[in-house]
């Protein structure tokens, strides 16, 4: 699904990722853990194609094709999704309108018929129930006046609606109370399947109690210094990161 080979990347002439490799197969969930400034956000930004980042060496391949020259929307249309650490507030842009436009862009891309208002509403109401969200959400502007938890739920709602094959969850657990965390983890778990892959980026192993990754990678100074299974998260919880630093 995703193959990253010896990736060197950065921003403003500052190299942040210094030779990172990662391979995710269909159905797998990988977690990347690391401290602030280790390069976690850079990793998610270069996969999704945010402007301003450069890649000086290496490649990112998605379904066996290099995607580093693709604009962000092409990556999205081909099935890559990121749940943002800081979802953007868009005053005056209606949630329903936005989500419907995004879904129809994707359906268009895949040669499917666009949803009309009624069938979209039916679909979205089902997804809202899954995430225990109120229908008043539909009338609101994107993320405007949303609490931290509501914003994160909204990200997961978008994921469930757009049905990506590769979902990057960037600090999805930050700012969530325990109830919201459970609901969101539940939504993610239901979405897991043999065909869908996940890259979970997180500080803490809190979220990993509820969604169990197949692999965990520790990112320090732009490189993976250790990989392992879910037990590694517990070890990190206990010992911190310093024992891995050289």
């Amino acid at each position: 699904m995703l193959d990253i080979q010896d990736l060197h990347a950065g921003i403003d002439n500052k190299e942040i990722l210094k030779g990172l490799s990662l391979s995710i197969r269909p159905g797998e969930m990988h977690a990347v853990m690391g401290r602030n400034g280790s390069g976690k956000s850079t990793l998610s930004n270069v996969i999704t194609g945010r402007e301003g980042y450069y890649i000086s060496k290496g490649d990112i391949r998605y379904k066996n094709t290099s995607i580093i020259d693709w604009p962000p929307e092409k990556r999205a249309l081909e099935g890559i999704f990121m749940s943002f650490q800081y979802p953007v507030i868009m005053p005056g842009v209606n949630n329903t309108y936005f989500l419907k436009a995004a879904l129809n862009a994707k359906r268009n891309h895949n040669g499917k018929k666009e949803f009309d208002a009624a069938s979209f509403l039916k679909l979205i109401k089902e997804k809202l129930e899954t995430l225990d969200m109120d229908t008043s959400y539909l009338q609101r502007a994107v993320n405007e006046g949303f609490s931290g938890g509501e914003k994160k739920r909204n990200e997961i709602l978008q994921m469930l609606t757009l049905e990506p094959e590769l979902a990057i969850l960037d600090e999805t657990d930050s700012g969530l109370d325990i109830d919201a965390l459970k609901i969101i983890a539940d939504g993610i778990n239901k979405y897991r399947s043999g065909k869908r892959s996940f890259l979970v980026i997180t500080h803490y192993q809190r979220l990993l109690k509820y969604i169990e990754p197949d692999f965990i990678h520790v990112l320090i100074d732009g490189k993976f210094v250790k990989s392992g299974n879910k037990e590694l998260a517990l070890e990190l919880e206990e010992k911190g990161y310093s024992w891995l630093e050289s």
């Binding site: 945010r50 402007e51 962000p72 943002f84 842009v93």
Partner: protein
């Protein structure tokens, strides 16, 4: 227009025998005062950011009856076809094309002055009011009698047309008697070459009356649109103004609302869209002269290319206007690094015990938001359009009449398609 040019046009109108003689001294007084004041220049505080050379560079001529259309005008192309309309073509009232609901009194302005025994105060805030009085066309006046409630909006359609460099000086009086209500659409349109439209609109709102006033400024890109609006509000009267300005090469709104009666409410809104080398200046004053009045100014501008704009808003709270509640917001979106806006929100408060706020923001499209939208599968053009729509939607959604709103949305969306670039 040079002084000689103004003088010769003034002489022409003084010699028109179809106007009542009684209007002559009014014109003369205004013209003398106009010459004394002169055309504003950038040294005038209120005109600092607006270059009036498009007015002074060309000799404009007053319209005579030859400039009235000699064939039927197709007004369907100006949209909103179900709304009763008064058509003013190059300053000439088109009776055959016009209709108003029977409950509304429609007079020429000169008849209105006759009705008032020539005891009508002439607007004189700016030199352009004086010029309007000096050169005014026969004009129109709408009166809503006591308790009359409007069922449909009424449109006044100003069509500016032709290549003969006309100056047109429409005068409109709108009087709402006690507890009446009305919705007026003032639409400025047409395909004219260089043209100077200098209109004055005088609105009087008696106790408990309610006027919703929508102004669509969609003149050709060679037109100068000078809009002078005066609102006098009595007790518990309610005035809402919505301007949508996307036309003209040079547009200036001079709006002055006086809240003279207790409990009056005045809400001024404007959405301005500019491109190429357009310049649109909104100069709005709300004067609180009585207690317990509520007002707001909410103006937004979207600027593309080398276009420029001004927001100059002032809220004045006099010493008698206790318990005033006012807000003032100006937000501007620059789509090009060459576009420029001057924003100057001002509060002038002469009493305590008031609630007043003001603020202004100017910025470009948020790159984080653009990336967010792109990451959901929409291309950069769609992302920009979505954000600009979001920026403007607050003002468009305030229009409740479906026909007007649909017309506006169409105009807005076509502007957006033509002005959203990579």
């Amino acid at each position: 227009m040079s002084v000689t040019n103004f003088q010769s046009e003034f002489n022409k109108i003084m010699n028109c025998d179809y106007f009542s003689e009684k209007v002559q001294p009014i014109r003369k007084k205004a013209f003398t005062n106009f010459l004394k004041k002169g055309i504003p220049n950038k040294k005038w505080e209120q005109w600092r950011f607006t270059d009036l050379s498009p007015i002074t560079n060309i000799d404009f001529h007053i319209s005579d009856t030859n400039d009235a259309p000699n064939q039927d005008i197709d007004i369907l192309k100006y949209g909103m076809i179900d709304i009763p309309t008064i058509v003013i073509y190059n300053g000439h009232y088109q009776e055959k094309l016009s209709s108003v609901p029977p409950e509304i009194k429609l007079l020429s302005c000169l008849d209105y002055m006759e009705l008032k025994n020539w005891n009508v105060e002439q607007p004189k805030d700016s030199p352009f009011d004086l010029l309007n009085t000096a050169l005014m066309d026969s004009g129109i006046c709408l009166i809503a009698d006591k308790n009359y409630q409007t069922k449909s909006a009424i449109r006044i359609l100003f069509i500016s047309s032709g290549t003969q460099h006309l100056i047109s000086s429409p005068r409109v009086h709108i009087d709402l008697k006690d507890s009446s209500s009305m919705t007026i659409i003032e639409q400025h349109t047409g395909d004219s070459e260089e043209y100077f439209l200098n209109g004055s609109l005088v609105i009087t709102l008696k106790n408990n009356s309610k006027l919703s006033h929508i102004r669509l400024q969609e003149n050709s890109n060679k037109t100068i649109n000078m809009g002078n609006i005066h609102v006098q509000q009595e007790e518990a009267s309610h005035y809402t103004f919505h301007q949508f300005a996307y036309g003209s090469q040079l547009g200036r709104l001079n709006l002055h609302a006086d809240l003279n009666g207790q409990g009056a409410e005045c809400f001024l809104n404007g959405l301005t869209l500019t491109n190429n080398k357009q310049h649109i200046d909104n100069f709005v004053i709300t004067s609180h002269n009585a207690p317990h009045c509520i007002s707001s100014q909410n103006f937004k501008t979207v600027l593309q290319d080398h276009s420029t704009g001004v927001f100059n808003g002032r809220t004045i709270v006099s010493k008698d206007a206790t318990k005033t509640d006012s807000s003032q917001v100006n937000k501007n979106l620059l789509l090009s690094t060459n576009a420029l806006i001057n924003s100057n929100p001002q509060l002038e408060i002469h009493t305590d015990d008031v609630k007043c706020s003001h603020g202004s923001t100017t910025g470009e499209l948020d790159t984080n938001a653009l990336f967010y939208i792109q990451s959901r599968g929409l291309d950069i053009i769609s992302a920009k359009m979505l954000l600009i729509q979001g920026f403007a939607s607050e003002l468009i959604s305030k229009i409740s009449d479906k026909e007007i709103k649909n017309y506006l949305l169409n105009q807005f969306n076509s502007w957006l398609e033509n002005n959203t670039k990579k």
